[in-house]
């Protein structure tokens, strides 16, 4: 303890020095920005159920109250779900017993809970318990029903008790009940009460009792459920099948008819008229003709179904012995009890439907990475090692696509390659007289194609660097040793580039895993899901499935982080490979001969595919009142009205302003923080500086949508006292955290190149640390800061993933606005906005470049 105290005292003393205090503070800011949301997300994924159904998964009764809340009776209390939040009620709240056997809402709006220790009435405020001492036949109550007169009937193990609000009356075998052990009660349309018992069914019309048993045609004397359908038929669930009584004849349905299992525990009719049977081995639906079976294989939480109910929205709820299943269109969603543990993961990964997005993600990211790698590497090789003409222009052609926002890029390609209206499809169909469109962008192939094109610039940048950093004499030595071009390529070049190759592939694979814009625009409409869109949809549906989202998010981080770790290892190894001579390499330029024009053409083709064609189609659409395939007769309809509309579009100017504020603040914050962080990492021997370095690099492995999710959670739960949620601030916070790696990587490299002595000479000249940092270090770092600033500004304007979860109408940004406009079908106005955005981006980047060049010139 004393040692820790001493250490602390030393740290505090050190922190009194302004420099150490400042550095420590910035370091803490980074920890806060990067680590905090991740920790919250990770904790959340273990803690919160996928909309935790509390308290138990064994559901015996479901009822919807008049306010629309759904109530679930379980073995460990009752749960109420208001469509958003879950609340659990137990004995602590006032229930007679946590074991809820049945629950109903009476005509006065009171909820009645049947339990083994009496019944509980809840009027929304107070809890009232009725037990044997109050006049109930027995404390063990199995079922409850209200008759047409408003009396409540309670089925117990010792007869039936009737309560009229004041007095109790019990009916037993002595009164005519077939058996005192009552299992189910139902009221029919004519006002008769039906009691299911262990020895048959009793009907009571208010005066007389009538008994039906196996002898009359009932499938089995032990009745587990009673229900009446619209036609007035009564249905009885037994262990030997379901029996139907139409007032005259009995008919029993068993597995032979199509029932999934004879042990019928629950019966209900939905608003479409289908009868639903909950059995021990799944649910059966009977539409009067055919039977349909649903089991765990179809997505049910469990096969043992004890309760069935339809809510006012027409959604069917099945209470199983392991959670509630909600039918949501064709799919089933499961609600489980909350708690702490790996439940979410088990749930997410035991769902067979998770396999498809997982597979899609891997295929999508893998093939897009390969495609992007092939294009980017080929271009890098052409520029670095061959005599392809006009290298500067060629490089620009590869890098300009970085400016295009992903959403716009994807949307424009829909208009180029969609099967019906896609320009390229239309042209090919016309030229070759095809019936069918040759391409469909709304496919996994289409998504891979676009993502591959988008990734190429990054690959180009990374591979160019690695081509440049490879000492060409390593290849020349092979040549001199007698190896031909192919042998040299195979045994030297390829082997030497292998670590770089793998690491670049990994990085683009990680980028592919996190890609959101293209899968969202192309995949969601056609139902092709990947991880990122799955997370997005989990949070789009009502109720929001935070559990699934966070579980998938953490899984994505694990996947990407593994990739980034391997990348780190490999690049470290690659450094070992680098044999530095300190001399500028002048690699031998390979003469392509006539092929160099083909190579030049490939740059132009790439530029056309990524910028030319998309921009053209956007421009075309922006000038027309509605989309149509380009032709000459359309020119008459051209106008600038879409631009006016785009400018006057609600929120458009605000979105532009927000985007600018966001891009500028995030980029500026990041480069400044990065400069300080790099200074700590490169120049000091501060404890934990390596951890700081890794921490600042980590967000590269965090998919944008997950980072948005993590920040959202952090500021909705742990940090909710800081009112940033719903403002632009939360976006700035999220972006600053997410894009930190781009800053620190640039400043790390930049600072390593600035000789330490340049700073030391300032200090020996009498400058304080702060003055040295601001007057010497920062100005020298300026070129690195400017290029990092431009890159971060570009990605923060382009990206959609983070913003889409964090924006509100007040803090909407351009990418989200475009996405929403597209959802709203306003494509022509969208196109006009897109054209303006692209022009604007180009202008901003050129301005900053020009300013940066000025700064650089001053330095030189």
């Amino acid at each position: 303890m004393a040692a820790i105290g001493l250490q602390l005292k030393r740290m505090l003393l050190a922190a009194r020095e302004p420099k150490v205090f400042f550095l420590g503070f910035v370091a803490l800011v980074v920890v806060y920005l990067v680590a905090m949301p991740l920790v919250v997300l990770l904790m959340g994924s273990f803690k919160f159920g996928p909309l935790a159904l509390e308290p138990d998964n064994y559901v015996r009764a479901i009822v919807q109250d008049r306010e629309g809340n759904l109530w679930f009776g379980t073995r460990e209390g009752a749960s109420r779900y208001d469509g958003k939040d879950w609340r659990k009620f137990t004995m602590k709240d006032g229930l007679a017993d946590d074991r809820v056997n049945d629950l109903v809402e009476d005509s006065a709006g009171n909820l009645w809970f049947a339990s083994s220790s009496g019944v509980t009435r809840y009027d929304g405020e107070t809890w009232l318990i009725f037990a044997k001492s109050d006049g109930l036949a027995r404390d063990h109550v199995t079922s409850i029903a209200e008759d047409s007169a408003g009396n409540l009937w309670f089925g117990t193990r010792g007869g039936v008790s009737r309560y009229d609000g004041e007095t109790w009356r019990t009916f037993t075998e002595d009164d005519g009940l077939v058996d005192d052990s009552v299992t189910a009660i139902a009221l029919d349309m004519e006002g008769n009460l039906w009691f299911g018992t262990k020895s048959g069914v009793s009907r009571y019309d208010g005066e007389t009792w009538h008994t039906f048993t196996e002898a009359d045609g009932l499938a089995d004397d032990l009745v587990q459920a009673i229900a009446q359908d619209r036609e007035g038929h009564l249905w009885f669930g037994t262990q030997e099948g379901a029996s139907r009584y139409d007032g005259e004849t009995w008919l029993t349905f068993t597995t032979e008819y199509g029932l999934v299992d004879n042990d019928v525990r629950a019966i209900a009719q939905d608003s479409a008229g289908n009868l639903w049977f909950g059995t021990k081995r799944g649910a059966s639906r009977y539409d009067g003709n055919a039977w349909l079976t649903l089991t765990e294989a179809d997505g049910l939480a469990h096969d043992l179904i004890q309760a069935i109910a339809e809510d006012s929205g027409g959604n069917l709820w099945l209470g199983t012995s392991d959670g509630v299943s909600l039918r949501d269109g064709e799919n089933w969603r499961t609600f489980l009890a909350g708690g702490t543990g790996a439940g979410n993961y088990v749930l997410a990964y035991s769902d067979p439907k998770i396999i498809t997005p997982l597979r899609n993600s891997v295929i999508f990211a893998g093939l897009a990475a390969l495609l992007g790698f092939a294009i980017g590497t080929a271009f890098a090789w052409l520029v670095e090692r061959t005599n392809v003409p006009m290298k500067n222009l060629a490089s620009a052609f590869v890098l300009v696509p970085l400016i295009m926002p992903g959403v716009l890029f994807a949307i424009s390609w829909v208009f180029l390659l969609s099967p019906n209206i896609g320009l390229i499809n239309v042209i090919i169909k016309a030229v070759f007289g095809l019936e069918e469109a040759p391409f469909n962008i709304h496919s996994l192939g289409g998504m891979i194609w676009l993502e591959g094109l988008v990734m190429a610039p990054l690959v180009f940048i990374l591979m160019s660097a690695s081509f440049r950093s490879m000492d060409p004499s390593l290849e020349e030595a092979a040549s001199v040793s007698g190896a031909g071009i192919l042998t040299t390529a195979r045994r030297i070049t390829f082997k030497l580039m292998l670590p770089a190759t793998i690491s670049v592939l990994l990085i683009v694979f990680v980028r592919g895993m996190e890609a959101f814009e293209i899968p969202a625009i192309l995949g969601i409409p056609s139902g092709i899901m990947v991880f990122s869109t799955k997370i997005f949809l989990a949070l789009q549906q009502v109720p929001k499935d935070y559990g699934l989202a966070s579980t998938l998010g953490v899984s994505m981080i694990v996947l990407s982080a593994t990739g980034v770790l391997i990348y780190h290892k490999l690049t470290a190894k690659a450094y070992k490979y680098a044999t530095v001579t300190g001399k500028g390499y002048r690699p031998r330029v390979i003469d392509l001969g006539r092929w160099k024009w083909v190579a030049a053409g490939s740059f132009i083709a790439y530029f056309l595919l990524t910028v030319g064609l998309p921009f053209f189609i956007l421009l075309w659409m922006s000038l027309l009142p509605y989309y149509s395939v380009p032709s000459l007769d359309r020119f008459a309809e051209m106008s600038l009205v879409n631009y006016k509309d785009a400018w006057n579009y609600p929120n458009a100017t605000r979105a532009i302003r927000n985007t600018l504020i966001l891009g500028v603040s995030a980029a500026t914050l990041i480069v400044l923080i990065s400069a300080v962080i790099s200074w700590i990492v490169v120049r000091t021997r501060m404890k934990g500086r390596q951890i700081l370095d890794i921490l600042a690099f980590m967000p590269i492995a965090i998919p944008g949508i997950v980072s948005g999710l993590a920040v959202m959670w952090a500021y909705l739960t742990f940090m909710d006292w800081l009112p940033v949620y719903g403002t632009l601030w939360i976006l700035i916070i999220a972006y600053t955290g997410k894009y930190m790696p781009y800053g620190t990587r640039a400043t790390n490299a930049g600072l390593l190149q600035i000789h330490k002595e340049l700073e030391e000479v300032a200090e020996t000249s009498g400058a304080s640390w702060w003055r040295t940092f601001t007057k010497v270090t920062l100005p020298l770092l300026m070129p690195a800061l400017v290029s990092a600033w431009i890159y971060i500004f570009m990605v923060s304007v382009r990206s959609l993933g983070e913003a889409i979860l964090l924006y509100t109408s007040k803090s909407e940004v351009i990418s989200v606005l475009i996405y929403d406009m597209r959802e709203g079908g306003e494509t022509n106005v969208l196109a006009a906005l897109g054209v303006m955005v692209i022009i604007f981006m180009v202008a901003v980047i050129f301005t900053v470049r020009a300013l940066g060049a000025k700064v650089g010139a001053q330095r030189a």
Binding site: E476, S479, V480, G484, R491
Partner: protein, 366 residues
């Protein structure tokens, strides 16, 4: 034999072009050690790379043995890997992904030479032993020290027993002591193997100590070709004299015609000098007169010699251990003189300097 004829190579720089090699020719007889010596940017490395086939010259021919490997007129170029050469790079170019053994074995495994495994092993181990790297065969190559990498590069270049060995500043990345040691070893090894060598360096000590013939290059052209002794003591241009360390250069006038085996006479501001005149110098011609600082003999008393004696005053004497580096005032001029430490010159001291006629060099001005 290695022969280079009228080689020319230009590089595009900015908008224009730079003549890296401007029509140079030389011959290296079999078993000779030929050095291209010059400051950086003089075109020596480019010449070597043209010989290797790593650069393609615009004009000129290269012949290795009896095979013309580069004939620009006929546009016939033998690719590098088909030229019978070995090469040591300045960066060593040791493949970091291979072991020491694999690095050396590489040239034997690529050319379908038909060596069996055993033969390869034998040759590689022999080559490694020759450069004193035996025992390190299984090391990963990047683990070697700088000097070891240098030897490895040499072993790799020699293992195929090429007709010509090309070396591009192989010692420039070593520290001073190691460089000296390697210089001696390299010289010995090359002499033992009697291999035709083309060596590129900017270091005159390396060039003088190892070469049979040195070509001093300046701006893409050969300034002077000759034996080390010729280059050192009879520089034929001002550039060579300057580059080889002659700091005391004075313009003078020949007082006699050049004649074989006879001393001539030159008049300078420092007086008249008896010296050997290079061929072709006529009486009355303006020449450049060089005095190497280390060639003076120093006296405290006037030695009473007829000519080639200067009287000067020590202005500055810097102790360098073995010698004093002195700046001396002679009349209006200053000259640099190196004086043995045992002589211990003192500032302001008056000394007599004698420069024997055989140690004077006279450069014919172009």
């Amino acid at each position: 034999m290695l022969q280079v004829d009228k080689l020319r190579k230009t590089f595009p720089v900015g908008g224009g072009k730079v003549k890296a090699v401007d029509g140079i020719s030389f011959q290296v007889p079999d078993g000779n050690f030929f050095t291209l010596l010059g400051p950086s940017g003089c075109g020596k490395t480019t010449t070597l790379r043209c010989v290797a086939g790593l650069e393609r010259p615009e004009a000129g021919d290269v012949t290795i043995g009896d095979k013309k490997v580069c004939c620009t007129e006929k546009k016939q170029y033998t690719p590098t890997h088909k030229r019978d050469i070995g090469m040591v790079f300045q960066s060593y170019a040791i493949w970091p992904h291979m072991s020491v053994f694999d690095n050396v074995a590489f040239p034997l495994t690529v050319d379908k030479m038909g060596f069996s495994r055993g033969q390869i092993k034998e040759r590689v181990l022999h080559a490694l032993a020759r450069v004193k790297l035996d025992g390190l065969a299984n090391r990963p190559a990047p683990q070697l020290s700088g000097g070891q990498q240098q030897r490895l590069a040499l072993a790799r270049a020699l293992v195929k027993e090429p007709r010509v060995l090309l070396m591009d500043e192989p010692l420039s990345n070593l520290d001073a002591r190691l460089r000296e040691q390697m210089r001696v070893e390299l010289g010995q090894l090359v002499r033992e193997l009697n291999i035709t060598s083309l060596y590129v360096t900017h270091d005159q000590v390396e060039a003088l100590s190892m070469s049979h013939v040195i070509a001093v290059m300046d701006e893409g052209q050969i300034a002077q070709i000759g034996t080390p002794a010729q280059i050192y003591s009879q520089p034929s241009t001002k550039f060579v004299a300057d580059f080889m360390g002659s700091t005391n250069l004075f313009e003078g006038k020949a007082l006699t015609d050049a004649a074989p085996d006879t001393l001539g006479k030159v008049e300078t501001v420092l007086g008249n000098w008896h010296c050997t005149l290079p061929e072709g110098i006529r009486k009355g011609e303006t020449v450049m007169f060089c005095m190497r600082p280390e060639n003076f003999t120093t006296y405290r008393e006037n030695p009473g010699l007829e000519s080639n004696v200067l009287e000067g005053k020590v202005e500055l004497a810097t102790y360098l251990g073995e010698v004093y580096d002195c700046t001396m005032a002679v009349g209006e001029r200053t000259i640099r003189v190196r004086i043995h430490h045992s002589f211990a010159p003192k500032p302001e001291e008056k000394l007599f300097l004698w420069l024997p006629p055989q140690n004077c060099s006279v450069i014919k001005l172009q």
